[in-house]
Each structure stands twice: as structure tokens, then as C-alpha cells.
Symmetry: C2
Subunit: 250 residues, 2 copies
């Protein structure tokens, strides 16, 4: 068996998320079907980060094993020739057996796009949260700094899926703007279910003046629960952007 | 009767172009239906530039007359509430009776997007020409300068639709790049059918080394015909971007 990694991008609109599930069209299922077709044997694919229904990916990394050896360039072409229009393989890599898309990752980065004007271009509609209310960007940028470091993110996780240890480390949390487009870029060691979307929903509470910075600080306390944080922002604004690995591995 | 103008944006993918035609889903037809519904009388809409099947628009301007007076802000909301997902009204204007979206226009600007990497993100797929071959950008930029000024564009027009006078004036013709994305921005007094797409197809012949600058120069000569120019680049990379009017009018 030989291990490979592929960087993939997908439009989440018509997928029930990454993870394979009976009766749902998933990215994992789609990719595994294509690889089984090419390899002639069942293939199990593992991703750096599982994305929810409707969430997009630009630089998702997946790893898997194939029985025979492939030239990565040929593997890339063969995979793309068989994938549907809403998934693309961007790059293929020959990797060591010790490489694992999920466990080898040092950090993951997500980007969330918000469109703040009253009207929105139809070309953006599937890729942004069309938030017609303006944000106080100074306050939101200040709030972003509260996310940095190791904190308890229990209030930022879908309740039914919260692990016993909800402590996560955020390395970067920044707001960028260009015209009416605002985007939130966040990098962390790992993320809980819905975590980025709840971070954005909470930033929205602060940006629209419903809450202040003290409120955000209180959400990291031990007694904080999911309902204390802001709402879960829509899936379609979220992109799984990038993954970092030790340079010796990828 | 009171005249209004609206800036509209549309995703051309599922339209048979701007112009109303029997049996085709068109942007003009869609917009006229919405306006008739709101106004309670038939409305004829005129656009700054008619776009072909599959061509997008970011800042198309349309003008029309309504029997009763509307606050432009309310008109904008009402129109958007009734338009399908692939068309948006971006801004509405109260205009003088002398304003005409087509005849008052001083210039039109188009942008054509080309994706030059071997693999393409699915989010871009409907909005770029995925040209897997790289362009010699220095040559293409040099070629762009040949378009400037008043020239005979007969070789750059769909043959069956070429008017007796095919002379057009180009004010700007520029190439921009960012990573694997290349775009061509062109501004002119008016454009012939397929003109921008044939300009891009011709730039492609130069960028990929099939033709040189002398060839491009020869296409403006009186004896040049449509088959002498390059192929018509795909519709999906083309955006009708912007229109200029005298500042007293819009």
C-alpha cells in the first residue's frame, strides 16, 4: 500500500457535508467512489477537517492508501476527470506512510465572508452571509483579539457534539474588508463543531451593538454554555481555507 | 409617465441572454415581468448593452417608464423582492426624461476572466475561461495597446450581425493578473456582437505564441474578415462591468 494526499476544493452548496452518511450526497462519498473506480479496490479517505452541510473548501487536504503506485500528476488528472463539477482536486502529493491528513495537521485555517451592503451580486450569493446590517468594525477587530490563545470554547460548540475537553488554541483571528465585503480569518490547532460559525454569530452581536467585549470575555468562563454565545452564522459564508503540516511531511 | 434607471447584476448561466425572445428565459423578459407586476401596466426596459447567452453583468444599467411615482429606494426593494436568485437590482435612480440607458451612454466597460492554472476551484468555474495553457503576458500586454483608438473592428464581429460601419473607439484595454487569475478590462464607446470575446480569443492566439503582433495589426485593415481573427472565447468568462454617462444624467 502506498499513501497519497490530495488538496481538494469544493462548493458545499449541494453536499450534505464532508462525512459519508447513508442517503446523503457527501464529499467523502463522492471522492471515495472516484478513487475506488480508479484503484479497483475500496478506498477510505481521511480529511484534515470535516466540514458541515453547505460549508465550502478551498484547500482541504485528504489522505488515503492505494495498492499500486501512481505518478501524482497522473493521479490528479484521473481524479479530476471523474469528479463532478462541484469538487476539484487542486494538487496531488506522494507522501510518507506516517502522513495523516487529520493527525499530522498543525493548524487549520477558516475564512468566513460577510456581505454588508443592502443589495448583493448574484455571483456572490452562495458564498457569503448577506448581512444587511453594518458592523462597527473597530469593535469587531477588538473582539477578535479575545479569541487568541488557549481558551475554553465550550460555548462555541453545537451542544450535542461537545467533547469533554473543549479547550482550543487560536493563533490568528483577523477581520479584513474590501468595499462591502468583510471577511474573518481564523487559524487554530483544531476546531469544534460549528465553532467558526458561532464565533462569527458572536462577532455579529458585538458588531451590531447588541453585546460588548465583556460579554465575549465571559463566554470563555467555565460556566458558559452554548446558549450564552451568539447564533450560528449561515454555512454558506464559511470556507475551510488551509491546513498546516510539518514541512517534512507535505 | 416618469423615467427610472436601475443598476442590475446577473449571473448569465441560466439565461438565453439579455434580449427578450420567444421561448427563451431572458434577463429583459424577467425584469419586464417583475416591473409589470409592480406597476400594473406593461413596461419596456432598455439596457445600456445587450449581453449574449451565458454572459454575466455586474453593473448593467436599464431605463424604463412607470405611470406612477416611486421612491427609488422603495422601487429597489420591491424589484429585488420579486426577482429570481440570479438577478439583483443594485441601485435605483430617479432620472430625467432625457435619460436613455443605451443612447445616453458615453462608454461601456467589459471584464473577461481567465484562469490559467491546470486545476480550477469549483467556485470560479462558471465565471472564468479555464485556459490551461499559460500566456506570455508581456506579449499580451503589448497586444492590448493595438486595440486603442478608433479602428475598424469588422473582423471582431459575428459575421451575420456586422453593421455597415464597424468602426469602434477603444479607450482602455488592459491586462491584470493576480496569482493564476488573469483579466482583460476593456472600455469603448460601443461594442459589436461578440467583439470582446473575439478580442480575447485573438489575445489568446498571441499569448500562446500561435500569432504575433503584426497579425493583430492586420486584423484592422479593410480587407480583414471575421475568420481572420481568433476564435470566440467562451461566454462564461465575460462580465458587462460598468457604463459611463454624463454626470448630469446619472
Amino acid at each position: 500500500m502506498k499513501r497519497y494526499a490530495i488538496k481538494i476544493s469544493y462548493n458545499g452548496k449541494n453536499f450534505s457535508g464532508w462525512q459519508k452518511q447513508p442517503g446523503g450526497r457527501t464529499v467523502q462519498g463522492t471522492l471515495e467512489n472516484v478513487l475506488q473506480l480508479l484503484a479497483g479496490h475500496p478506498v477510505t479517505v481521511c480529511a484534515a477537517g470535516r466540514t458541515d452541510k453547505g460549508v465550502h473548501a478551498v484547500g482541504q487536504i485528504v489522505s488515503f492508501d492505494l495498492e499500486r503506485s501512481w505518478d501524482p500528476q497522473k493521479l490528479l488528472l484521473a481524479v479530476n476527470a471523474n469528479l463532478p463539477e462541484d469538487v476539484s482536486a487542486i494538487k496531488a502529493f506522494d507522501v510518507e506512510e506516517s502522513f495523516h491528513a487529520r493527525y499530522s495537521a498543525l493548524w487549520r485555517e477558516y475564512v468566513y465572508f460577510i456581505w454588508t451592503a443592502k443589495t448583493c451580486y448574484p455571483h456572490f450569493r452562495d458564498y457569503v452571509w448577506h448581512r444587511k446590517q453594518e458592523w462597527d468594525l473597530k469593535k469587531v477587530k477588538q473582539a477578535c483579539r479575545c479569541f487568541l490563545g488557549e481558551k475554553n470554547y465550550r460555548a462555541f460548540c453545537r451542544k450535542s457534539e461537545c467533547p469533554p475537553n473543549a479547550s482550543r488554541t487560536i493563533y490568528k483571528a483577523e477581520i479584513f474588508t474590501r468595499g462591502d465585503l468583510v471577511w474573518f480569518r481564523v487559524r487554530g490547532n483544531s476546531f469544534l463543531t460549528n465553532m467558526v460559525r458561532i464565533m462569527v454569530g458572536t462577532l455579529d452581536c458585538i458588531g451590531t451593538g447588541k453585546q460588548d467585549i465583556d460579554y465575549l470575555e465571559s463566554l470563555f468562563e467555565d460556566k458558559a454554555e452554548r446558549p450564552n454565545a451568539g447564533p450560528t452564522a449561515p454555512a454558506k459564508g464559511l470556507f475551510f481555507w488551509k491546513v498546516g503540516y510539518p514541512s517534512s511531511l507535505l
